[in-house]
């Protein structure tokens, strides 16, 4: 034992340098791409100034992948792509090829595995497919979700599958889901966002609070001042009238969960965008204050998202995203055309609502 050599402790090395993983054609043409074209849904070709080409086959993924599936994807990459593949910012898988003749066999093989090819858009032709839904952990791993994440996303992508496969939408549409207001993944600037919300205040367990919580920082963490320390009993009191169910207190203190299976649910936001193409990037706005949390397939959520998407797709001009469509038709027509009921909760009454109130007599009827 004593004579065993002490291994040096390796840490702080950072990630491997990306260059180790770039296909040779990318290394040779790094920063020198001239243009790209969409050959068919899910298949791109990028052409370099040198004339070199790289083909990309984009594949939808549930994000939650087993190592056994990853190995199967690696086998495909070895067979068709000299082992090169990447993932996108929306959790799609991209196979990178140099031999055009291998595209179709690759597609056949990856679809046989159960992974669909699609999610691309052709800006020149104004034909857009739906990309993958970015989402968070939910009941698979997190301790604060109001809803599951992977489940609603699966149900939605099943329902919107044809839009992933075919470039049949007039503009880009980004859908994102977060299972609580922490919004890991920042879904608050998407064309359609789904957010898990709690609707009842924290349930304080005095004993757990006493054992595990720091009172001053928990109290200070409440954005609405709904919490008061109860120094005598070393616990926390909640002013239910002031609570807006953000869950920050639970993040700070395990003794005050907000969970309520029958009252938790989903809020739907729309009209955000991140790209500055045409109109400026902006945050999404709440259009449905609450839908029930209804596993395993969340039918109310699926129907509402479909209603928004289909109403927009039927009417939008080429390239026009949901935000820009609303700019053109007005919010009053958005609610009319999507069939979504305008509820009083959609009128802001939080911090600085004045910017959202209309100050002109210009209306549409």
């Amino acid at each position: 034992m004593a004579s065993e050599p002490v291994e040096e402790y390796i840490s702080d090395i950072g990630p491997p340098h990306y260059e180790k993983f770039l296909p040779p054609v990318i290394k040779n043409n790094y920063g020198k791409w001239a243009y790209h074209e969409v050959l068919k849904p899910g298949v791109l070709v990028h052409v370099a100034e040198s004339g070199d080409k790289i083909y990309t086959v984009r594949v939808g993924s549930p994000r939650l992948l087993s190592i056994y599936t990853i190995r199967e994807l690696c086998d495909i990459a070895d067979k068709y792509c000299d082992g090169y593949l990447r993932f996108t910012s929306r959790n799609n898988i991209e196979f990178l090829l140099t031999d055009e003749s291998k595209i179709d066999p690759l597609i056949e093989e990856v679809e046989k595995l159960g992974f669909p090819v699609g999610g691309t858009w052709d800006a020149t032709k104004a034909k857009y497919a739906l990309s993958n839904i970015v989402h968070t952990q939910g009941w698979i791993h997190c301790h604060t979700p109001a809803i599951d994440a992977s489940g609603p996303v699966k149900a939605l992508m099943d329902a919107l599958f044809d839009h992933f496969k075919n470039m049949d939408l007039p503009g880009l549409c980004r859908i994102s889901l977060a299972c609580c207001l922490n919004m890991c993944g920042a879904v608050h600037a998407s064309d359609i966002s789904l957010v898990g919300i709690h609707r009842t205040p924290p349930m304080v367990d005095d004993d757990v609070v006493r054992r595990t919580c720091e009172l001053p920082s928990t109290v200070a963490g409440c954005p609405t001042g709904a919490l008061r320390p109860d120094m005598k009993n070393k616990t926390i009191k909640v002013d239910k009238e002031k609570c807006m169910y953000c869950g920050n207190c639970y993040t700070m203190c395990p003794g005050m969960p907000l969970f309520d299976p029958e009252n938790g649910g989903v809020a739907i936001l729309a009209g955000g965008k991140l790209s500055d193409a045409r109109s400026p990037a902006r945050l999404s706005k709440v259009v449905v204050p609450y839908l029930p949390n209804n596993p395993p397939r969340w039918p109310e959520v699926v129907d509402t998202v479909k209603a928004i998407l289909e109403a927009w797709a039927a009417e939008a001009k080429p390239h026009e995203r949901i935000a820009e469509w609303i700019d053109r038709i007005g919010w009053e027509k958005f609610f009319e055309k999507t069939g979504i009921e305008f509820k009083v909760q959609l009128i802001d009454d939080f911090r600085q609502p004045r910017h959202t109130f209309r100050t002109t007599t210009q209306f549409r009827w």
Binding site: Y9, D12, Y18, K20, F21, I26, G31, W33, A34, Y35, H46, G60, P62, L64, L65, S66, I67, Y68, T69, I70, R71, L73, D78, R86, F87, T88, S89, P116, T124, W139, H141, C142, H143, P145, S150, G151, M157, A178, N182, G185, A186, A189, G221, P223, C246, N248, P254, P257, P261, G272, L274, S275, D276, R278, N293, P296, P318, H319, F350, R351
Partner: protein, 409 residues
């Protein structure tokens, strides 16, 4: 796995989109303890509540983050997931891999973990989902031996991430991958050892299309842009027109500032660059014909964040144009100035946007040494409630003195 055992989850095996339930099942076939994840998840589906406990601080030697500790409320019923910690592994910039590299990670995760991953987490890391406390250190050691490291968590720098950039996008105006790698390596200490009031994020997009959502989700978004004129290849414009692209409605009508004109007869485009806001639309639609200019750099937008606590923020322009060339000194100096200010003034769990709002953008700009520019605002303020400082003013005269002098005259 029989579907009768997990009737609710089995509903999510149906339908054309790939099923995450099947992925968990695949791990359970090889690792019997993973059946307990299905069991726990089915219970969550029945009871509509999470069964994961709050927190639990676990890490590896020398680090204060990179692992999300997780324990189950159903430890008795589902002992296989009683401890189910996540390791965040720092992804290579741009998420490029070789199959060899991925297989190495799979092999290590087969040995030490659940076999389940997220490719990728929303910050960008490879998420290795589910292992025991005991396995964390040996798993980390083996990852490190193979050239992999953990990403950030807690009140630390979070793993920077970047769009595909110059590796495979003709629109990239800055080297997103190199910048991402460089920042990650330069700030390893800040990444692994939480020491700030709260988290801090860098995200890097090569152009204003912002394919990594940098503006919305990073305290310090770096977005490529250019200053000089869009380059037009009129030959290619003609080819697009001849191929049937309706340039008037597709491009001209969509230009936000109406600074682009199309001559239907000559099939030529003309741009008034002094009025172009570099939105990318025309370039997106006609990539062969239009290219951004050569004077390239980045916009820095600060404060982007999700709604907790004071509402969501889309990053605010703080530096309209900064050089973004290796070794990226200008960007690093700016980030470090922000951190100095944050260290001194930030409150516990206050994100940068909230700090800026609390102390005022004016004071923030002064502290980090940035000159005001109309590109920072949508419009000037509609109130004159600003705070002057002594150095802005002449010496003060006391009105009482003036009046009393007048009275006594």
């Amino acid at each position: 796995m029989s579907d009768e055992e997990f009737p609710l989850l089995s509903e999510l095996k149906k339908g054309p989109w790939p099923s995450f339930v099947k992925e968990i099942e695949k791990t359970a076939e090889k690792k019997p303890e993973m059946k307990d994840l299905l069991k726990q998840l089915e219970r969550s589906y029945e009871d509509k509540i999470t069964y994961w406990k709050h927190g639990g601080i676990v890490s590896v030697k020398g680090y204060g983050g990179g692992v999300i500790g997780r324990y189950s409320f159903l430890a008795k019923e589902c002992p296989g997931v009683a401890e189910f910690h996540t390791m965040r592994v720092n992804q290579p910039a741009g998420w490029f891999y070789t199959s060899d590299a991925l297989r190495t990670i799979c092999d290590i995760w087969e040995k030490y973990g659940s076999g389940l991953t997220n490719m990728h987490g929303s910050t960008g890391d490879i998420i290795l989902l589910g292992t025991t406390t005991q396995n964390l250190q040996p798993c980390f050691n083996e990852l490190a031996k193979n050239g992999w490291d953990l990403g950030g968590s807690g009140s630390a720098l979070r793993t920077p991430s970047a769009c595909v950039g110059p590796a495979r996008c003709e629109f990239a105006l800055i080297d997103t991958l190199e910048l991402c790698y460089d920042l990650t390596i330069t700030y390893q200490d800040e990444l692994h050892r939480p020491m700030w009031p709260y988290k801090f994020k860098f995200k890097i997009a090569g152009c204003p299309n912002d394919c990594v959502a940098a503006k919305a989700r990073s305290d310090f978004a770096i977005v490529g842009t250019w200053k000089d004129e869009i380059k037009i290849n009129q030959e290619e414009v003609k080819k697009y027109a001849e191929a049937g692209v309706d340039i008037k409605t597709q491009v001209v009508d969509n230009c936000p500032t109406k600074c682009i004109e199309y001559d239907e007869e000559k099939k030529e485009l003309k741009i008034d660059n002094s009025n172009c806001v570099r939105c990318m639309h025309c370039i997106n639609v006609l990539p062969k014909a239009l290219k951004p200019g050569d004077e390239r750099g980045a916009v820095i937008l600060m404060g982007g964040k999700a709604p907790i606590l004071e509402g969501p923020v889309m990053g605010w322009v703080v530096v309209p144009f900064i050089k973004a060339e290796k070794p990226f000194d200008e960007i690093k100096e700016l980030a470090e100035a922000v951190w100095d200010f944050w260290d001194e003034n930030g409150k516990f769990r206050e994100r940068l946007a909230e700090l800026i709002e609390r102390v005022g953008m004016m004071r923030f700009l002064e502290a980090i040494g940035v000159e005001p520019d109309p590109r920072m605002i949508k419009e000037p303020r509609a109130n004159p409630f600003y705070f002057w400082r002594e150095e802005d003013l002449k010496e003060r005269t006391n009105p009482w003195e003036i009046w009393r002098r007048a009275e006594s005259e």
